[in-house]
């Protein structure tokens, strides 16, 4: 385990995960996903009207390296809810189809509009956190 003081990138990623109830690390942006798996995961969250923070891992290879070291998950995208890794595209898709994702997000059986938080978190980039 690295000392966080000597590893600002890992610390920034950890803070982003802690501070955003729903955060997706992806290739590209929600508006312009750069990979089909990231695109599908964004589409699922958007179909649920689920606000989420997004981090594009492409600008700096260190983001992906530190994220995977932190989560123990090798691939992108990675969805975190309430600080916990939910999974990548396969798991998110399976959980969406079974309704478990809606449960994890706390929107089961309610209309999305009724549970949407007042303010949608702005998409953030890792640079904002450093």
């Amino acid at each position: 385990m690295s000392d966080s003081a000597s590893n600002p990138m890992r610390e920034a990623i950890q803070s982003a995960i802690s501070e955003n109830p729903v955060i997706l690390f992806m290739k590209g942006t929600p508006e312009a996903p750069a990979c089909g798996f990231s695109a599908r995961t964004v589409a699922i969250l958007e179909s649920l009207d689920q606000p989420f923070a997004a981090v594009n891992i492409l600008p700096d290879p260190a983001i992906r390296q530190e994220l995977s070291a932190l989560s123990g998950w090798p691939t992108i995208p990675q969805l975190f809810v309430d600080g916990e890794l939910v999974g990548g595209c396969d798991i998110v898709t399976e959980m969406f189809e079974s309704g478990e994702l809606q449960q994890v997000l706390g929107i089961e059986g309610e209309t999305p509009a009724a549970v949407a938080p007042a303010a949608e978190p702005a998409p953030l980039s890792i640079e904002n956190l450093l």
Binding site: F37, W73, C89, E94
Partner: protein
Amino acid sequence: MAVSPDELKQRIEAGIPGTSADVTGDGAHFEAIVAGPAFTGLSRIAQHKLVYDVFGAELGDRIHALSIKITPMEAR
């Protein structure tokens, strides 16, 4: 070096005892349908990690993308 679906199948089956894998793919993107008793009782995250761990750093590199579907099974 190109990766074949058959190589992935054999490595999953060798790496996780009792598992049977059905792998399709085009040399970069693969889909594996994996069944076995090793997955029973594990969370989805842990099930997928079991398969990812067979390939380690090759994932995202030599193996560009691996999509996984898991079927836990009773031990035979």
